[in-house]
Amino acid sequence: MSTQAARVEEKLFQNRYLVDQGKPHIVVQPHTTPSKNLLAMTKICPAGCYEKNASGQVEITPDGCLECGTCRVLCEPQGDIVWNYPRGGYGVLFKFG
């Protein structure tokens, strides 16, 4: 894991989450080569949810998602991802915001 990824995990550790197990609210569509924007998400996602796997595809683990919508704006219109809000009550729970 890169040092930057480590740093963001440390940050997320402060937050409270209620993860909807087995029901990810963001899904990456199957692809062989990621689009430019989808690849950029591995860097832009403020929670470091996107990662490139060994065979070059971009995957998402939205457990630490901050629900900012950046990936929605960059990747949903072209159909790279499907973006929904978590089920009511789930997801990130800001104490301060």
């Binding site: 930057q4 832009i44 901050l66 629900e67 919508g69 704006v73 929904n84 009550g89 990130v92 800001f94």
Partner: protein, 435 residues
């Protein structure tokens, strides 16, 4: 499930939704408000400055109970290079008035309070409920919503979309497009806790006085972006935001930039020794006037960030959200009291109210700013701050160089980096966009 039909359903319990729901419920309308968070506020992020006037128009005596942090007596604008800042600062004891004009707030706590007032005014509020779909009749009129809870459609005469910048429902129903990457900024923010005496000593404050710092310059690496430091009672909000389109084209990570900002020699001493208790991220609509979508239709209105009603130049959003929510509520109440149907034609009253208010007037004034800052980002956020810093250093450093030579060097530096036509062009474009 809910059987009755409501006068209005409000989607979202942020600033805009709370303002709309409060306005309608306190006038006797039968209002249902739905919020996806664990409680109202648990999904919402702000710097955040609260502008008192717009809340006063909704809840005149809010100061008695609302969770306010500090009233602002000082504003600092910092133009930053990697090692310096050139500042403009305004502090006035006049801001220590009986009814202060601006406060810092903590959104999750503030929204929770605001929503309690909505409930006290008579609205039914259901949290932990994500609205999944707008329901329309055969003619395309919005007649209700579906949620992720069991049960069918909940019906209402009108639906107020106060769903914030990621307004999925409106976009999916084809009422407005998904915002473009160049029209939204991604902001990341941390809450740094310190004893209140430490904050007061570091920022030169007494009691509940507060300071905010807005910073721009090389910290955003040539992207259109800003940093901020806001004082709360026992915490400091530190954040950094840049346009999403710029992030997509650059190598910076948002948290990496926040780290650099926090380590800046002008910022680090202010937050030294603090305990970080939360890390948040959120989008800010920055497209301005030209990106405002259709605001009303048959059976629906849209308010706040969902409608891009955000003045990025002045970093105002919540007040536009509250005002648009209130005006939508007043318009709906008017239509309702005339016993008229909630048609597009009748709901145009909301747009009329909005056009007559500061919301549209301010956004119109700055209609050319977002595009200008975006296309000229390199100059405004990298070149000029560096040049200004150099000129300040030239001016202040006493090293035996004759003053006339120092002055010439500063002027030369400006002209080398940016041609004279470029400089005048930027000044002209800025002045025009500001007008």
């Amino acid at each position: 499930m809910i059987e009755e039909k409501f006068d209005a359903i409000v989607i979202g319990a942020g600033m805009a939704g709370n303002a709309a729901a409060y306005t309608m419920a306190s006038r006797g309308l039968n209002v249902l408000q739905l919020e996806r968070g664990e409680y109202p506020g648990s999904k919402n992020v702000q710097g955040g400055i609260l502008y008192a006037d717009m809340l006063e128009k909704i809840i005149p005596d809010f100061r008695e109970e609302a969770p306010l942090e500090r009233h602002l007596i000082e504003q600092r604008f910092w133009m930053m290079t990697d090692r310096s800042h050139t500042g403009m600062q305004y502090r006035s004891d006049d801001f220590n008035e009986e009814k202060p004009n601006r406060y810092t707030i903590i959104r999750s706590q503030f929204d929770r309070w605001f929503n309690k007032q909505v409930q006290a005014a008579g609205a039914i509020v259901i949290s932990e409920t994500t609205v999944t779909e707008l329901v329309s009749d055969a003619y395309g009129k919005v007649i209700g919503v579906r949620t992720d809870r069991a049960g069918g459609t909940i019906f209402a005469d009108v639906v107020v979309l106060a769903e914030g910048v990621n307004g999925l429902l409106g976009a999916r129903a084809g009422l407005r497009p998904t915002p473009k990457p160049e029209h939204v900024a991604l902001a990341v923010k941390e809450m740094h806790f310190l004893p209140r005496e430490t904050i007061e000593a570091r920022f030169n404050l007494h009691g509940d006085e507060g300071v905010v710092i807005e910073a721009a310059g090389t910290i955003s690496k040539g992207m259109t972006g800003m940093g901020f430091v806001y004082t709360n009672k026992e915490s400091i909000s530190v954040g950094m935001g840049c346009l999403v389109s710029d992030f997509a084209e650059n190598d910076e990570t948002p948290y990496g930039m926040l780290e650099v900002f926090k380590k800046h020699p002008s910022i680090a001493p202010l937050i030294e020794g603090s305990e970080v208790k939360e890390y948040a991220a959120h989008l800010i609509p920055e497209g301005g006037y030209k990106t405002i979508p259709e605001l009303f239709g048959d059976g629906w209105v849209v308010v706040g960030d969902a409608a891009q009603l955000n003045n990025a130049i002045h970093r105002e959003g919540s007040n536009l959200a509250m005002t648009s929510g209130r005006l939508a509520g007043e318009a709906i109440f008017q239509v309702k009291s005339r016993r008229d149907p909630m048609t597009k034609q009748n709901l145009a009253l909301y747009k009329k109210y909005l056009d007559d208010s500061f919301v549209m007037k301010d956004l119109k004034k700055y209609k050319d700013m977002p595009a200008l800052l975006h296309t000229q980002a390199q100059n405004f956020f990298l070149t000029y701050p560096t040049l200004v810093s150099k000129a300040m250093e030239n001016f202040l450093r006493v090293d035996g160089t004759p003053k006339i030579e120092k002055e010439k060097a500063s002027v030369r530096a400006f002209r080398e980096k940016r041609s004279l036509t470029g400089l005048f062009g930027d000044a002209w474009r800025l002045a025009r966009a500001w007008r």
